[in-house]
């Protein structure tokens, strides 16, 4: 799988975090895996159809998800409830929507489907994927992973 597919997703992540949260995510290590196993509790999965079939997965620790939603709402959040997961789901949706615009500039026409939320510990998310590209980002509110799983 070509790393260049990941660039529009990285750019979209940067831009959304900057405009919505005034955060500049620092890109950390990138890895290629056969499957997506994460120890982060709040995962937003955005399915993708069209020229690329697969999904983009945003994985946040519970702590970070709570902090992000607290920053957006100005209210304290203490559990990963439906309000928090749905706010994070929409964040993933917005980033992915922007990413598809970037992908179309590489002549890849893709559509996204509404977010699916998976919470818990040690989750194996996309066993059907051929390969998974994962990037880690660090911010003042914690670190998170963005994975691109392609079938």
């Amino acid at each position: 799988m070509d790393v260049k597919y990941l660039n529009p997703i990285i750019a979209a992540t940067d831009s959304v975090f900057e405009t919505m949260l005034s955060l500049k995510p620092e890109k950390g290590k990138m890895s290629v895996q056969e499957e997506l196993i994460t120890d982060k509790e709040a995962n937003v999965i955005i399915g993708m159809t069209g020229d690329i079939r697969g999904s983009i997965v945003y994985s946040f620790s519970e702590e970070m998800a709570l902090k992000v939603v607290a920053a957006m709402s100005g209210m304290e959040m203490d559990t990963l409830d439906k309000f928090v997961t749905s706010a994070m789901g929409e964040l993933g949706n917005i980033i992915s929507g922007k990413a598809t615009v970037g992908l179309s500039e590489q002549d890849l026409e893709c559509d996204i489907v509404p977010p699916q939320i998976v919470t818990g510990k040690e989750i194996n998310i996309t066993s059907e994927a051929d390969s998974v590209l994962m990037v880690n980002f660090n911010t003042e509110l914690g670190d998170f992973d963005v994975s691109f799983a392609i079938k």
């Binding site: 939603v69 209210m75 749905s86 706010a87 789901g89 929409e90």
Partner: protein
């Protein structure tokens, strides 16, 4: 408080309306997240949602009038985004009732609403400000 000065678009009328809209959104979310008797809470939720919904209409109308006055090139598209959003609120109200005022259903809706509105104001609406300030 949800409003942040960073969300300003540089057009005074729009910025003050966005601030009021976020205040009403905040009231709605606080109610949704409050601990109170189910029946009481349902009434409060409907009240704060209507209060916010009314203002959504007032604000969208004013913002769209301004877009037209300054020949905003993306008007049609922006108008459609606003229409879809209003339809979503109406759809929610209907389904909320059908779901017998389910707690998770309204939590889910309001979480999405929060992120959606911040993005709309902090990102999508910025282009309006840029346009107006470039032709003024």
């Amino acid at each position: 408080m949800i409003w942040k000065d960073e969300y300003k678009i540089g057009v005074e009328l729009v910025d003050s309306q966005h601030e009021e809209l976020f205040k009403r959104l905040g009231d709605f979310i606080v109610t949704v997240r409050s601990d109170q008797d189910k029946e009481e809470k349902r009434k409060e939720i409907e009240k704060t949602l209507d209060f916010m919904g009314e203002y959504v209409v007032t604000h969208f109308n004013a913002e769209e009038a301004l877009q037209k006055r300054y020949n905003y090139p993306d008007y049609e598209n922006h108008h459609k985004i606003h229409e879809d959003f209003k339809a979503e609120i109406a759809e929610f109200k209907k389904e909320y009732k059908e779901n017998d005022y389910d707690e998770d259903f309204v939590l889910e809706f309001s979480g999405r609403l929060l992120t959606w509105l911040i993005n709309h104001v902090a990102s999508t609406d910025q282009d309006i400000g840029e346009h107006i300030n470039s032709v003024k």
